[in-house]
């Protein structure tokens, strides 16, 4: 009886360990899927913006969240309609679409390294610097 009980306990414990370990690939897959969704959204914002340097570029942010800089583009009467935020390496970590009645946000702020959306970081930083210069 005791041996049977012990064997059953060991089997249950082994099954629990296997089930727990099986969660690791599931968790990683979920992280990848989430990153892909956010990246799709960020790319859609970039596509809606078009070239980074354009007349509708009229606002900026410096050092928000984990040290991100942002460029904001005007559409119709909305000066903040489209926005991208990027890190020092030129990785676009967040995208905002404010053309509707409420903002639509795609963000990888919790894990910026997961972003595969790259822009010319030096060029983008130069644009932020230009916008933050005093008016002549």
């Amino acid at each position: 009886m005791s041996t049977w009980w012990q064997r059953r306990s060991v089997l249950w414990a082994a099954a629990a360990v296997v089930a727990l370990l099986a969660l690791i690939p599931l968790g990683r897959w979920e992280a990848r899927r989430h990153a892909q969704n956010e990246i799709r959204g960020i790319r859609s914002v970039l596509a809606a913006i078009g070239p980074l340097d354009q007349p509708s570029l009229d606002a900026y942010r410096i050092g928000v969240g984990p040290g991100l800089d942002c460029l904001l583009y005007k559409r119709a009467a909305n000066p903040f309609a489209l926005e991208i935020c990027f890190d020092g390496a030129g990785r676009v970590v967040e995208g905002y679409d404010r053309r509707g009645g409420s903002p639509r946000i795609w963000s990888l702020r919790e894990d910026p390294s997961a972003s595969t959306v790259q822009i010319d970081g030096a060029r983008a930083l130069a644009l932020v610097k230009r916008l933050s210069q005093p008016r002549p």
Binding site: L23, I24, L26, G27, R28, D58, R61, V64, R109
Partner: protein, 438 residues
């Protein structure tokens, strides 16, 4: 000799637990000296408590008991936390949180196991938590007497002045006080020396007054509703139970009304920020018009006057933040971002916190629906016998109920540095013990 040793060990464990809870509270204090001393003392005292619990368990191993399902639940939740480093966004941070949780759970299991056949041990340990809360509350009162500016958060346009005592902010100490309130009530209701019962009642009133003065709505609700749990579980006649319940509800209503008496500073009808304010720069600094950390619900979107009006039942900014946190959690719904990695991005107007201020949503973000379900199952396993058998330690169950209610307004189940992290997990294990422990 053996009996005496047990008594000494129990007394030592209860004393160390009181110091441990006090050290945890001090680590969350606004007083620099207390904070500096509290953090390292907490770790040392946890080790000492674990050592005492181990000695007790080994010396009286025939009396040591823990229900297998409780042990399995604790092990499973802890194991999931560890395994989550495999997909965590911040693996090292998750590992640190895992080790903290594991250390506290191991100590809690060792301590709780020793109470299975010793109601006296349970009573002493609960008294330890109660004494720690009372001392921390008394310390806040002393601070207020000597330097009221340190013990009271001044009024703003959002909040009236709030008593914070020794806590880091007005919502800190009420967490501990709310958990201690049901213990105090149980001690006041339990048979025993009249003086001890009167002292317990006075402590309960003092804790309730401190929670009320803090204006912490979560603390108030958790503290008083957990008193109802004690009343419900306490051995008394139906008529007495109904009278006690009515008294608790009336006291809650009175205290809630008292919190509305102080007023916030008047708001001077600030207009919504203009769409594009002229600045001295070539471009608009969007952060000065529409800051990202306060975008959702911002007057820029709502076109309403700026400012937040707080009221007893108003929770619009909290609800917004909670909805956003759930939306964020659903990005990784099954397993989350890793235990302890509560990567909440605050974007909510009028919400000033770096976490969602909800322990359950916090767990959903960290370990997903699977982890949250495991946590709920573990709590249910621990508490189920209490709901079936009224004789179970009502103080511990009431205190756990307070912790679970506090979880609706504070995120602390994972946070080793939180004022009630150790008491909550320890009380959960104590509450899981069989009926003999009352």
């Amino acid at each position: 000799v053996t009996r005496l040793s047990r008594e000494r060990l129990d007394l030592a464990s209860a004393s160390v637990l009181a110091l441990l809870v006090l050290a945890g509270a001090s680590a969350s204090s606004n007083e620099h000296l207390l904070r500096t001393a509290g953090s390292p003392a907490r770790l040392l005292l946890l080790v000492v408590l674990g050592g005492l619990a181990l000695v007790t368990a080994l010396r009286f191993r025939s009396e040591w008991r823990l229900r297998p399902w409780v042990a399995a639940g604790a092990a499973a939740f802890c194991a999931l936390a560890f395994v989550s480093t495999g997909w965590a966004v911040l693996p090292m941070s998750t590992l640190k949180r895992d080790l903290s949780l594991a250390a506290v759970l191991v100590v809690a299991v060792l301590v709780a196991g020793s109470t299975a056949h010793s109601p006296r041990t349970t009573r002493l340990l609960l008294d330890g938590i109660l004494v720690a809360a009372a001392v921390f509350a008394a310390g806040g009162l002393v601070l207020w007497l000597f330097d009221a500016s340190k013990a009271v958060q001044p009024a703003t346009t959002e909040y009236a002045a709030r008593f914070q005592g020794l806590g880091d902010n007005p919502d800190t100490a009420p967490l501990l006080f709310a958990i201690a309130m049901p213990i105090a009530l149980q001690r006041a209701l339990a048979p025993g020396a009249r003086r001890a019962r009167a002292l317990a009642l006075a402590t309960l009133l003092g804790l309730a007054a401190a929670v009320t003065a803090s204006g912490s709505r979560g603390g108030l609700l958790a503290g008083f509703l957990s008193l109802l749990v004690v009343v419900w579980l306490a051995p008394m006649t139906l008529r007495r139970r109904a009278a006690a319940s009515a008294a608790v509800v009336a006291a809650l209503a009175l205290c809630a009304w008292v919190t509305t008496v102080p007023s916030a500073l008047p708001q001077h009808g600030t207009a919504a920020p203009a769409l594009a304010q002229p600045h001295g720069h070539r471009g608009i600094d969007a952060e000065s018009v529409l800051p990202l950390e306060a975008e959702i619900g911002s007057p820029w979107w709502t076109h309403k006057a700026a400012g937040v009006h707080r009221s007893l039942f108003g929770a619009s900014s909290r609800v917004r933040a909670l909805q956003g946190a759930i939306h964020q959690a659903l990005g990784r719904p099954l397993l989350g971002t890793g235990f302890g990695a509560e990567l909440f991005v605050s974007r909510y107007y009028g919400f000033h916190s770096g976490n969602p201020e909800d322990g359950y949503v916090g767990l959903l973000m960290q370990v997903g629906a699977i982890g949250l379900a495991l946590f709920v199952a573990f709590v249910a396993i621990c508490m189920a016998p209490a709901l079936r058998r009224r004789a179970l330690a009502s103080a511990a169950v009431g205190a756990v109920a307070a912790g679970l209610l506090l979880g609706l307004s504070q995120s602390f189940f994972h946070a080793a540095g939180d004022i009630v992290f150790v008491p909550f997990w320890l009380l959960l294990l104590l509450g899981s013990q069989p009926a003999e422990s009352t």
